[in-house]
Symmetry: C2
Subunit: 422 residues, 2 copies
């Protein structure tokens, strides 16, 4: 496809999305929920087609020598596809957002002022590997009344197209424009660049993938980008911690699924419990096969096997069975460490001291702050959003796990009886 053809193709996609977004502002929540139910049903019906297309991607992945982790993310079977359809059906049943009036008040001149929740317009998702994102993102965007452009990676090309066909069929059955959800067929990087220049048609870009992809999008985009660079999450074990609880949380946060962004990368331990806690923590991590990088005090307490931590360790997202441990003087030092090295993702404190918990909750400015629980709960589903389209570590426009509400904004609605301004 020549550049000119590609440019024209992308321009058509962008302008169709804008048109569908306008039409969606005139649909009811009921109509969009019904479309979600039909989409879920079509995904189930189209399972043989989707799985056959998925098999093509898997063959190509093997030929290209993708890692087994990557292949696992691509892989679909009846059970996984059933879960994808279930997720879409569940989003249909979440509380409706669009048209909801918030904080109504009557002004002294009698004007009734409220905020009404409305869609953002057109969302562009740019993502890698997992074909379930195609269905999840489509469903969350539709729930929030948005049109969406889905630009997945080449490794999931056939799977994404097949899911896209099922989504389009569901939309059509429900009487909505099938182009409300568009799967971009072109998987060259150039198609991303071209999309990012359509700032008149697209309202928000959400990249999901490696740091390289996200930096590329942030740099090229003329459209606002919800960014999520990395998760350098911390567990701070306070002087008043229940140390058994601290051990269980530190283990779970690191070990239960080390390859995800809400896994813990650094454990901070209050100096006054270090002698008691650090040897137990190091032993537990050793049992779990976790490599430990520790500061001098941790090495004194934890043994010679511990690798000396370098300055770089404190800001590293290992995404693996590796952890950094540091002893800090007190809560203030823990907060200062997190301010300096953290990534605004998720931090947890373990403490039985209510005042320390409140101070940590107030002073830490990360998008999710946790008391006495694992960092692994920083997830849209776990926090009650139903599902998530991503996790923002920038404070604009959303901060933390983003569900359907993160894909909306509010307008002011004002009802008068003829008021004029004097």
């Amino acid at each position: 496809m020549s550049t000119t053809d590609l440019e024209r193709d992308i321009a058509r996609i962008a302008s169709a999305a804008r048109e569908c977004a306008r039409a969606l502002t005139k649909t009811t929540n009921q109509a969009r929920n019904e479309a979600l139910r039909k989409i879920a049903a079509r995904i189930r019906e189209c399972a043989p087609d989707i799985l056959a297309e998925n098999a093509k991607d898997l063959v190509a992945a093997e030929q290209d020598g993708l890692s087994s982790a990557m292949v696992d993310r691509l892989f679909l079977d009846d059970a996984r596809l059933g879960a994808v359809a279930d997720a879409v059906a569940e989003i249909a049943e979440l509380p409706d957002l669009i048209g909801r009036l918030e904080r109504a008040e009557t002004r002294p001149n009698g004007l009734q002022v409220a905020r009404m929740r409305i869609p953002l317009g057109v969302i562009l998702m740019i993502y890698e590997s997992r074909p379930n994102v195609t269905a999840d993102a489509a469903a969350l965007c539709l729930k929030a009344g948005n049109a969406v452009i889905l630009r997945g990676g080449s490794e999931a090309f056939h799977s994404n197209r097949a899911i896209g066909r099922a989504v389009a069929a569901g939309l059509e059955q429900a009487g909505l424009n099938p182009r409300s959800v568009q799967v971009v067929g072109n998987t060259e990087r150039e198609s991303i660049e071209l999309l990012l220049h359509h700032d008149k048609e697209i309202d928000l870009v959400i990249p999901r993938g490696g740091e390289g992809l996200i930096r590329f999008v942030a740099q090229e985009s003329r459209i606002p980008v919800v960014q999520h660079y990395k998760g350098v999450c911390h567990v701070y074990v306070d002087v008043k911690a229940d140390l058994d609880m601290a051990l269980a949380i530190a283990e779970n946060a690191k070990v239960q699924r080390p390859g995800v962004c809400n896994a813990c990368e650094t454990v901070l331990v209050h100096a006054d419990v270090a002698a008691q806690f650090v040897p137990r923590l190091c032993a537990r991590y050793a049992e779990c096969g976790v490599e430990i990088h520790g500061d001098e005090r941790v090495r004194e307490l934890g043994g010679e096997a511990i690798i000396p931590a370098t300055e770089g360790d404190w800001s590293t997202e290992y995404l693996d069975l590796t952890v950094a441990i540091r002893v800090v003087a007190d809560l203030a030092a823990a907060v200062a460490h997190i301010e300096q090295y953290g990534s605004d993702h998720t931090e947890a404190i373990v403490t039985a001291d209510a005042a320390a918990a409140e101070r940590f909750l107030n002073e830490i400015q990360s998008s999710t702050v946790v008391v006495n629980a694992s960092t692994r709960f920083a997830d849209g589903g776990e926090l009650g959003l139903g599902a998530e389209v991503g996790i923002s570590t920038t404070k604009l426009h959303a901060y933390g796990p983003m569900g359907a509400e993160g894909l909306t904004t509010t307008k002011f609605v004002v009802r008068g009886t003829g008021q004029i301004r004097t």
Copy 2:
């Protein structure tokens, strides 16, 4: 000042702001409100100094041949400065935002999840002429717990510096870091460019001024920008309108203060009341000295003096005693006109038909939608925000008039009893 000195100076400002923002996250609402009261008092005490400095700007403005409207925006006297101090004192008394918990719920596993309102961090305001913005923006940013960098125009250089000194003195008296509010002394355009590259230290840019300034900032910035390009606001007179009310609203929206963004630029009239209403509307506007650009039907009904409207008229922000009038077939045509030519600022419908009002409120996606009142109410003060830092016509991160709440975000706070994820 050589480029290198300027670069160093701007870098120092940005890094001091970041440091102050961190310190502000550890202050209480009471402490910041007390600082606002002290700032108001210092502005009153420093009135002789501020007015003397303002006089210098006025002399320069006259020498540079600034328009009388520009000079009027610059001009301060005891009464105007008193109003500036009052506005700061009133912001101290607005409800507190920071630390407020919203939508608390308990998850099935016992986790208590809520959103806590937090500051954005560092705000950069870039603005022209009005020195009152210096005090207003400083006060709103502090209320919301943010550090702020104020980069005003050269025409208000002395006034802004003098107000900045009063603000710094108030902060110091209240025990807060005076650099929490910094007035940039350098007024070359280059200082804007340099500031806009400090995306690590600055969280949000709010430009206020002409379209040229805003486009320049949006293009240069690596930091998210709240944009407000222009206000092409509409009044739609429905078939079921009370025509006396419609006349009063159309007059007020256009004439009461034509030079501001929430003034009406286009009146749309339902075809079935055009013969009755258009002649009265044209006569009223003629009395008020308003130049009318009308479509063919308006010229038939309103007389030969009416200038034929061109396609360009429908998207023009006149900011003057000029109005465009068009007859439309029905409400759907009015909505379609606004979608095509509007600026997402403010639109009003005049109607006695509740169903038509609801349809207009739902379908129009502008940041403020009004029923039976003047577009001139689209203003932070009038809508109950206390004061405003600007009006956003982009849906991210805020939409419509932005007060202190528009300068905040929320983080998730999670309280557990040892929960781990399985």
